[in-house]
């Protein structure tokens, strides 16, 4: 069971104070903490679990700068056997389509039974790379994957639909599965494991090795180009309650009383 996992390093922004940078097309990244995209974290864990059950090897691939080695080291520490980083200034500003084209060129010549991706990335939320890649590779896929059971050449998949509903589909392997969060519980890495991972090799490839031309990657090779970024206008902002926690608690209790809720 050889599995390729596509991962991305993204800034943690859920609780961070974010600013738009001087280009007006991106965010100011200094001061932000970067980590593996949450969906990819679950994908990596799922790949390692399948490997532990069925044997084979797990390869983590990322597109990014040298900083992304942190994410690859994390993958290696958690049980990935190999890591590949695709780095080239020409890859900058690639949208999901350009990313999928780059990944495709590397993956197509590798042996694999499954390619796992996150269902989406925390930063741009395109949710496209998995199915793009499947079409480029000419193999079937499933997105929003919440459970995987392997049975010979068939992967039995639970997909998350809306309103708590799931569907079961059977997908022939090799295939691409885009993993939804919550599919498993990603393991913690021991300090020993992290140390060991520091010694493992990360293979580095650039545009030349992909065989793609400059025009097929980056902004030139993308379908979607960001023109401007801005803080969303708020139609109606909450009335902020201020004071010490006790004062605020009193105000809330008063609001609830006035509305007849208690």
């Amino acid at each position: 069971m050889d599995i390729i996992v596509c991962v991305k390093q993204v800034p943690e922004t859920a609780e961070a104070d974010m600013k738009i940078n001087s280009t007006g097309k991106g965010i100011e990244k200094t001061g932000l903490v970067f980590d593996i995209n949450e969906w990819d974290d679950y994908a990596l864990e799922e790949a390692v679990r399948l490997k532990e059950k069925f044997g084979g090897a797990v390869t983590a691939i990322t597109i990014g700068t040298e900083d992304a080695d942190n994410t690859l080291r994390k993958c290696l520490a958690r049980g990935a056997d190999k890591a590949i980083r695709l780095t080239d200034p020409k890859f900058e500003n690639s949208d999901g389509y350009a990313i999928a084209k780059i990944l495709h060129k590397v993956i197509k010549d590798m042996p694999f039974n499954l390619v796992l991706t996150g269902a989406q990335a925390d930063d741009d939320s395109y949710a496209v790379v998995g199915p793009f890649l499947a079409e480029l590779l000419g193999i079937p896929h499933a997105t929003m994957v919440k459970k995987i059971e392997l049975n010979g050449e068939v992967a039995k998949i639970n997909r998350e639909l809306e309103g708590g509903l799931q569907e079961i589909v059977e997908v022939k392997m090799p295939s691409v599965l885009a993993i939804q969060t919550g599919i498993n519980e990603p393991r913690y890495v021991s300090i020993m494991g992290t140390r060991k991972a520091m010694q493992k090799e990360i293979k580095i490839l650039s545009l030349t090795e992909t065989g793609l031309s400059e025009n097929e990657v980056g902004e030139a090779g993308s379908w979607v180009t960001i023109q401007k970024m801005y803080v969303p206008p708020v139609e109606k902002l909450a009335e902020f309650l201020k004071g010490s926690p006790e004062e605020i608690a009193s105000k809330i209790a008063e609001i609830l009383r006035a509305k007849g809720l208690i």
Binding site: M18, R159, G164, L241, I255
Partner: protein, 328 residues
């Protein structure tokens, strides 16, 4: 500027709301671009749906086949790509839903049509399609242009475009032959499943306290559960809490969980990602507590508190107990 396709989304006999939302936006874009609005309906025995759709579109392109009974990206891709090649719509809209995001990317690559996903607005000016979408969990918006092409594809965020009462379009129902000759062998739909219920139905609770990422650790949950009990309500949560296995599936509020309309919703440590907001925005009164003053949750809350939830919760619980005349 001939035609705009809207792929009708339906499941288990029900037309889904996103279909009408897409048709509302599609109607506006069709008028502006001088195109005809066409609803594309794939399914088995769905003539009733076709009739419904004819009120909302100029054409209803209907393909019926028992192999289209349940959504399958493989069969949908085969049929829809055939229709797009034949009629060459300049724009095809799909929902940014479990089926739309499953199908649209493959179809776009296959047909070499630029795709933008999760759009909250679309504009067509000077032969350029510009979309508005969100990044970083809804903290920023971006305007993006699609590479110039003969045809485009976009997936549309749910509950974003209002469905207005408009005169019927008395659309023409056009029955098209199915291009499926055999069952799909690479991918097969098996069945729908619902995870077993946990015993608490948050859709009927009048008071709900919702917890999110800000709760930090499972060991912090009991004190929030007490607050919910003090209020006489139920404890619910946003996606990360269920993902971590700290609360069962049916406590999740949002597009992939439950939709709630309680008298009071207190959101603790929830940033307010769109998916969560979709499930709780109809609550009568919303109070949000979050450390980040820019959290999107404050855009939907009536009252906001920028504070560490763990500092507020004990005081809040005792104030409510006081008011209820219980012993502190």
């Amino acid at each position: 500027m001939n035609e705009i396709f809207v792929l009708a989304e339906h499941r288990q006999g029900q037309m889904r709301d996103i279909t009408f939302e897409m048709l509302a936006k599609g109607r506006e874009l069709a008028e502006k671009s001088g195109a005809e609005l066409t609803a594309v309906l794939l399914g088995e025995d769905v003539k009733d749906h076709a009739k419904t759709l004819s009120d909302y579109a100029k054409n209803v392109l209907l393909v019926e086949d028992n192999k289209l009974k349940n959504y399958n990206s493989e069969s949908y891709q085969k049929v829809l790509s055939g229709l797009i090649k034949e009629r060459k719509p300049w724009l095809t809209l799909m929902g940014h839903t479990s089926s739309g995001i499953d199908l649209a990317p493959r179809l776009a690559v296959m047909l070499n049509m630029p795709l933008a996903t999760d759009c909250i607005d679309l504009k067509f000016d000077n032969q350029t399609l510009t979309v508005t979408r969100q990044m970083y969990g809804g903290k920023v918006n971006v305007e993006a242009v699609l590479r110039r092409a003969e045809g485009y594809m976009a997936t549309i965020r749910q509950a974003t475009f209002p469905v207005k009462k408009e005169p019927s379009m008395n659309g023409k129902i056009i029955q098209a032959p199915s291009s499926l000759s055999e069952e799909m062998t690479r991918k097969r739909f098996v069945e729908y499943v619902l995870p077993p219920p946990s015993g608490v139905d948050i859709t009927i609770a009048e008071f709900i306290v919702g917890i999110g990422r800000g709760i930090k650790d499972a060991s912090n949950i009991p004190q929030i559960e007490e607050l919910a009990k003090t209020l006489g309500g139920a404890l619910a949560c946003s996606r990360p809490i269920v993902d971590k296995g700290w609360l069962p599936n049916d406590r999740q509020v949002g597009s992939s969980g439950k939709t709630i309309k309680p008298k009071l919703y207190i959101a603790l440590g929830i940033s307010g990602a769109f998916q969560h907001v979709l499930g709780m925005k109809s609550s009568d009164l919303i109070i949000a507590v979050n450390k980040d003053s820019k959290a999107p949750i404050f855009g939907v809350a009536d009252y906001g508190v920028v504070e560490d939830l763990f500092k507020l919760v004990p005081s809040l619980k005792s104030k409510i107990q006081e008011l209820k005349g219980q012993k502190v």
